[in-house]
Symmetry: C2
Subunit: 178 residues, 2 copies
């Protein structure tokens, strides 16, 4: 079956919710076998995540994640503002969340969960960090932690981090700089 035969055709749809952060749409689609069904999709502006290295350490942020009702230790990340490029967003988020500006190298771009959202995440590697803070978002409460890079890689391999982009980012960068 080629791609043309697997494509699902949009035959209608509606915006069910437009929020501060998410837009939920439900589309009516025609399946490759001619049947019709609905697809629920979260429209997302896109996001960045940053592996920021400094003296053989990686900068991580500890924060409370309301959706999962617990704290996580993650690499810095955030959503694109309207009309913002991924590179500009990565520079802004790193300064807001850690206080540092770095030289940014694009590493990878991937869909976080293509089963229900179009969120596209751009991963950057930041080095040569210099202190140049921006004011954080007023509803974000973060603590920055400097983790030895070898320890971070081991924690990723042993599944001690529970955030997908953090594990992915560390393993991917480890392969590049090893």
């Amino acid at each position: 079956m080629n791609e043309e035969n697997r494509r699902e055709e949009r035959i209608g749809g509606e915006v069910l919710f437009e929020g501060r952060m998410l837009r939920l749409e439900r589309d009516q689609v025609r399946l490759p076998n001619g049947l019709e069904t609905s697809r629920e999709v979260i429209r997302h502006p896109g996001a960045v995540a940053i592996i920021a290295l400094q003296d053989q350490h990686v900068l991580m942020v500890r924060q409370y994640r309301y959706a999962i009702a617990q704290e996580t230790l993650e690499i810095p990340a955030g959503k694109l503002d309207p009309h913002e490029t991924p590179l500009d967003c990565a520079e802004r988020e790193l300064r807001e969340e850690t206080g540092y500006r770095g030289t940014m190298e694009h590493i990878s771009t991937f869909f976080t969960t293509p089963g229900f959202t179009d969120e596209l995440m751009h991963l950057f590697l930041a080095r040569d960090l210099v202190w140049d803070p921006l004011t954080p978002d007023e509803d974000e409460f973060l603590a920055v932690e400097r983790i030895p890079w070898g320890e971070a890689v081991q924690s990723a391999q042993q599944s001690k981090f529970n955030d997908a982009k953090t594990v992915l980012g560390i393993l991917l960068v480890q392969g590049l700089i090893a």
Copy 2:
């Protein structure tokens, strides 16, 4: 700042949408600084993904993803049915999507995107595959591809896959079986 100080307290909320696949809630929360805001959360039943190895190849599925309007090549995956354990789900999804049953080893569990959903994904490694198909979901149209394991690892490292769980899963399993 300790965890207690970063916690966001729920002070109210509503279900905005309950669909076939997703439930969207908007909660009113009190932030650590005493201010109030809203948090939009997608409630998700949880999911599994499977690295299925056979004769130095990994089984992957090519499918059309409506949310991103393109085909992807991903490792087999799917959502938990009500009351289904992650292990049962992994066995069911692998049989539905590839036709194979395997011995399952739990590798990792992680949140896919804790910024806006509680989706928890359980990653399994399947080996000793035997043909034992289940009927696929009627709205899923998949093509199974057998990719040489070394080629899959290289593709993951070079960001030739664009699905987060696929890259994460391959890199994680590569570290375990290398």
